[in-house]
Symmetry: C2
Subunit: 384 residues, 2 copies
C-alpha cells in the first residue's frame, strides 16, 4: 500500500493503539516492582501487571492453582505483524501507534533519556516498514532533566512518522499544572507535535472500598479501569485549565484519551463552580471574556472516540462543538474478547465503531471524519 494523501477518501484511522516493543518488555521483565512482567505457574502467557489496584499482593501468586495477577501479555502487545493483522481484520487503514502506560515514568533519570531515544527509534523503524500505514506518538523521558527532554523532542521532530507524544498525567512528578512543565509543552507546540493525554495512575485505591481491595478482588479490574482512568484524565485537564496552561501555550494541541474521561459531561459543572467561586472571583479569574472550558474544548483539545456508548459519544461531539474534533481509536491490545478468538473481530472495537454510526449516521460524512478523516487532517497522516 502506497502513501495516503489528504484527498484519499474514507480512510479508517486508529489513533489510540498501543505497543510494547520487545526492548520495553525486557525492561518490565527485569523489574521486581510494579510495573512488571512476570511468569506464573498458573498462566500460559507471562503476566503484565501495571497497577497496584490490579493485585492485592504479589506474594503467594506463584501457586499454580491461584488466579494469576494482572493480565496475560499476549503476542498482541509486541508483535508488529499482529498489529497489522488486527488492522486488516478491522479494516483499519492507518494506525498511530504509541507506547502503552506507564511509558518511561518509572525509569531512573540517568537511563530515561537513552531509553526514550531507543524506543522512539524503534517505533520509527516499525513505521518505516509499512509506510503510509503506520505513524506514531513518541515517548518523552520525563524523569530526566529538561535538556534531555528537549533533546528527545528534537529527535521526535526529525523522525518522519512521528506526529506527537503520548503523555501521562504525572508530568515532571507534580502533574501537568506544574509551571516547570511549561517549557516542555512549549517545545511540543513549537515542534508541531500533538500531546496524546492518557491515564495510568487512576485514583488512590482507598476510593474503591474494602470489597474491591479484598483478596478476592471482587470487582476485578472494573473500577480502576472504568472509573479511575477517565477520572484521572479529567482531573489532569481541569488542573491544566485552572492553571492557565492552555492560555500560556496557545500552540498546544492535545488529544484526550477515552473521549476526555468525563470532561464533556462535567464541563458545565466546572464552569459553574468557577463562576461561583469566591476565591477565583476575588482574583478576577472568573470574569466574563475569559476562555471557558468549552472554548478550550473547541480550540486546543481533540477527543478520541473511545467511550463505548452512543450516549457518551454524543456528549463528546456536542462538547467539542461538532464531530470534526473526534477521532476513532481501539485501545488495542487492551480489552481483547474473552474466551473468544483474539485473531478475529474484537467486540471492544465494534462498540466504538457502532456508536459513531449511531450518533452521526452510518455512511455520513461526519462519521467518516470521526472514523479517519479528522485524524488524517489533524495529524497530517500523509507521506513525507
Amino acid at each position: 500500500m502506497a502513501e495516503t494523501s489528504p484527498q484519499s477518501p474514507a480512510k479508517v484511522v486508529d489513533i489510540h493503539t498501543h505497543m510494547y516493543p520487545p526492548s520495553y518488555v525486557q525492561i518490565l521483565e527485569s523489574r521486581s516492582e510494579i510495573p512488571l512482567v512476570r511468569k506464573f505457574a498458573s498462566s500460559p502467557d507471562p503476566r503484565l501487571i501495571l497497577l497496584e489496584a490490579e493485585v492485592p499482593s504479589l506474594s503467594g501468586a506463584d501457586d499454580a492453582s491461584a488466579k494469576p495477577p494482572g493480565r496475560p501479555l499476549t503476542r498482541h502487545y509486541s508483535s508488529l505483524s499482529q498489529k497489522l493483522h488486527f488492522m486488516d481484520t478491522h479494516k483499519i487503514d492507518i494506525s498511530v501507534i504509541s507506547l502503552a502506560n506507564p511509558w518511561l515514568d518509572f525509569l531512573d533519570p540517568s537511563e530515561a533519556g537513552d531509553f526514550a531515544k531507543s524506543v522512539n527509534q524503534e517505533f520509527s523503524d516499525m513505521c518505516a516498514q509499512h509506510p503510509g500505514r503506520l505513524f506514531f506518538f513518541g515517548t518523552l523521558p520525563l524523569t530526566a532533566s529538561l535538556p534531555t527532554i528537549e533533546g528527545s523532542i528534537a529527535q521526535l521532530r526529525a523522525l518522519p512518522y512521528c506526529r506527537g507524544v503520548i503523555l501521562g498525567t504525572s508530568g515532571l512528578g507534580r502533574g501537568l499544572d506544574d509551571p516547570d512543565l511549561l517549557p516542555v509543552l512549549e517545545a511540543l507546540a513549537g515542534a508541531g507535535l500533538t500531546a496524546f493525554l492518557h491515564p495510568h495512575y487512576g485514583l488512590p485505591n482507598e476510593v474503591w472500598g474494602p470489597r474491591a481491595a479484598a483478596a478476592a478482588g471482587e470487582y476485578g479490574h472494573v473500577l480502576p479501569l472504568a472509573l479511575g482512568f477517565p477520572m484521572e484524565t479529567t482531573v489532569a485537564v481541569a488542573r491544566m485549565y485552572l492553571a492557565g496552561v492552555f492560555d500560556a501555550v496557545p500552540g498546544l494541541r492535545m488529544v484526550l484519551a477515552h473521549s476526555g474521561g468525563a470532561l464533556p459531561f462535567l464541563a458545565g459543572r466546572i464552569e459553574s463552580c468557577i463562576v461561583h467561586d469566591g476565591h477565583l472571583a476575588r482574583e478576577g479569574r472568573a470574569a466574563p471574556g475569559r476562555r471557558t472550558v468549552w472554548d478550550v474544548l473547541r480550540s486546543q483539545v481533540y477527543l478520541d472516540a473511545v467511550v463505548y456508548s452512543d450516549v457518551g459519544l454524543r456528549a463528546a461531539v456536542e462538547a467539542s462543538g461538532g464531530a470534526d474534533r473526534l477521532m476513532f481509536g481501539t485501545d488495542h491490545p487492551f480489552f481483547p474478547p474473552l474466551g473468544g478468538d483474539e485473531d478475529g473481530e474484537w467486540e471492544s472495537v465494534g462498540l466504538n465503531a457502532e456508536a459513531v454510526g449511531k450518533v452521526l449516521g452510518d455512511g455520513s460524512e461526519a462519521a467518516a471524519g470521526v472514523m479517519g478523516g479528522n485524524a488524517v487532517r489533524v495529524l497530517r497522516l500523509y507521506g513525507e
Copy 2:
C-alpha cells in the same frame, strides 16, 4: 396555596434543595474539627467549613486580613422564610428539602439516633407550616446501631411530608456496597422511601495536586466541588451495582445528585470493562442476560437535572432512556451569585432551567415533566 394533586398542571418542583435547621447549626458551632461553623474577624457571616479540601489549615485564619476559610453561612442556610422567598423568586411551587452534607455522619453513635429523630421532626414541622409547598427527605443516624437506624426509618414512614432520605456515600462506614447496609436499604424500600444519593467526601486531596493544596489554594473550591463530588457519586453507584445491591433490593429507588455524577457518560465504559474482565467472566458475572448498568439506570435510578449544561443534561436523559426519570433541582443554598443580590435570581438556578428548555424544548411536555411533573409523580408530592 392549597394542596397540590397529581392532576395539577405544570408545577415546578425543586428536589435538590438543602437546609441546616437552627439546631443543626448549633451542633456545627460547638465543634472544633471539620465539619464546623466558626466566626472569623475577616468575615461578616460565620463561616461554614465542610471539607478538608476547603482549607489548608485552620490556624492563622483568625487574622482579620486573611482570607476566611470555607464559605459564608448566610441566612439562606437555616431560614425557612428565606427558602420560601427563594422559591417565590424562582417560581418554584414545591421544594423537597433535605439536610445538607455531611448530615449526621460525624455524630457519636450514642447521640446520632436522638438527633436524627429531632432533626427529622424539625423538617416535618417546617413542611407542616406550608402544606403542599414543602416535602422533605429525612436523615438517617448511620453511625448508630441497626435497630436505631431502623427506628429512624419507622419514624420517617409515619411523618406525613417525608418522601425519602438523603444518603451519603459512607453507609455504615464501609460504603454503600457493604452487605451490612442491605437491611437498611431493604427497610427504605419497604417503607416506600426514595434514597437521594448525595456526595460529600469527594476524592482524597492528593489527586488535586500541590497547587490546589498550596496555602494560596490557587483553584479555590473548584476541583473538589466540580470533580470530587460527581466522581464520589459515580464510584458509589458503580460499587453498588458491582456488588449486586440493585438486584438484592429490587424495591430500592434512588435519585442520584448532580445527574448521576459522571455515570451517564461513563456507563458505556463500565459495561465494556465488565464484559472484558477476566475475573468477572470466570465468575459468570458478565454473562448475557444480566441486568446492565443501563437497565438499572432505566428502572431503579432517577437523576436530578443539576448538571449545568445542555450537553450533560442530554446525556443524562439518554442514559435514563427518556426524560421521565429526570427531576429539576437547584442545590440552594449553595452556589449563590457572587457580588450580586442573593435575594434576586440565582444564575446557578437559571443555568439548569435553561438546559432543560434547550434539550427538551421550551414549553414541551417533557420539559414540564423534568421541571416538576416527574417529581410529583415519582415522589407522590400531593397532600396527605
